[in-house]
């Protein structure tokens, strides 16, 4: 196993000459064994990024490697679940799993796939078209996990699920990550639901990587402050609002905070929202080499 799950260098993608860049100058490294959230607004480039990793799109410029090699060469070792979860509607659940086994003869783990389906109390004889959105997601996830991937790419996996199904499927995913050390990369525009589950973040905005790094380090690099309006020139101000005499700001401290500020560490959601509201804020990339021994 390689210690890097995904690495991009100057990755850019343009669909046709007339259109603008869907991704531009994306550079980041994702260590193996992480649960990475790819967050950002709709149309930011999250799906385009995941499709490159899955080997479905070719970069216009720059490179993207997965598991130490090209996406095409790593295809057997990764699984990709697209946003619309394409499954054959006329097949039954059982047939779908058999298809998974036939298509992945060397890697298929029937026990894993069957457990994911059984946890959802799905009838194996029901056809895919008769399933609810959540049940279909469960089957797609069973197909992906049955492949025993080293890298699991999920594009908006929770979008059409109710809160209970989200919690259950996230639990299933985390259990797989705990047991097999699977690297999970999942995109979402609902940030709050990922907060407890991910430990690495890529924030994509307007085709650029705005924030990249271990979640705890990214949060620790920022401070949410409230206090009397004052000079913040020593710090990198991401967003600042002044109401009357009071200022609320999200900053990257550039030294000791002087004055009478009340400061707290932001949540992931506060961090992401502040960056999305301030497109001109400088990007921040934090590498994690320190925790590699975990």
């Amino acid at each position: 196993m390689t210690d890097t799950a995904m690495e991009a260098a100057g990755l850019g993608k343009r669909f046709g000459r007339r259109k603008g860049w869907a991704l531009r100058a994306c550079t980041f490294r994702l260590p193996a064994g992480r649960v990475c959230a790819v967050v950002g607004p709709n149309g930011a480039g999250k799906s385009t990024l995941l499709a490159h990793a899955a080997g479905l799109l070719r970069p216009t410029e720059g490179t993207l490697t997965v598991l130490g090699t090209s996406p095409a060469a790593a295809r057997e070792r990764m699984a990709y679940v697209a946003q619309d979860k394409p499954l054959h509607p006329q097949l039954t659940v059982e047939d779908t799993l058999r298809l998974g086994r036939e298509l992945n003869p060397r890697r298929w783990d029937a026990a894993v796939a069957e457990r994911v389906v059984a946890d959802g109390a799905l009838d194996p004889d029901v056809k895919i078209h008769a399933l609810s959105g959540g049940q279909r997601t469960r089957v797609a996830l069973a197909l992906a996990l049955g492949k025993r991937p080293e890298l699991l790419l999920l594009d908006e996996p929770m979008a059409d699920l109710d809160p209970l199904a989200r919690h259950e499927l996230m639990g299933t995913l985390m259990a797989d990550a705990a047991e097999n050390g699977t690297t999970v990369v999942m995109s979402s525009h609902v940030v709050a639901e990922l907060e407890g589950s991910c430990d690495h973040v890529l924030l994509v905005g307007a085709g650029q990587v705005r924030l990249a790094g271990p979640l705890d380090d990214l949060l620790a690099a920022h401070t949410l402050i409230t206090g009397p309006a004052a000079d913040l020139d020593d710090h990198t101000v991401i967003e600042s609002r002044t109401t009357g005499r009071q200022t609320t700001a999200l900053i990257r401290p550039g030294g000791r905070l002087t004055g009478t500020w009340r400061s707290t560490t932001p949540t992931l959601e506060e961090l992401v929202l502040a960056h999305l509201r301030s497109p001109e804020a400088p990007p921040l990339h934090l590498d994690d080499t320190v925790e590699a021994a975990v």
């Binding site: 649960v35 919690h167 639990g171 985390m174 705990a178 407890g196 589950s197």
Partner: protein, 128 residues
Amino acid sequence: MVEYRIDRRTGVATYLQIVQQTKQAMRLGLLEPGDKLPTAREVVEATAINPNTVLKAYRELEREGLVEARRGLGTFVRKSLGAAPADSPFGAELGDWAVRAREAGLERDDVAALFTSVLDTYFKGEQG
């Protein structure tokens, strides 16, 4: 066995919630020396939190000498915490006292306030 309940709105770091709930279970005698903590897999399957968070909590408990990880077997409680499990004579006395307080007309908040003030008097300077 202990079951963790993660509250995402408290502002308390998730790993600390696991540490605190484990200690609480040890104090109440729900976890005794030799008992096995749930595996990371079991915890994350039930709570949907990140596996590294559970491992971080267990490392912290290990660092404090409360549990030990045995390779391939799991994480086990090493010692008992506190001398007053729920079924000790102290627990029974406190129960009797609570019954008398209720019969005397005290409400739950009155009792809690009274108990806290007694704690503050006799356990001065000790962190809660």
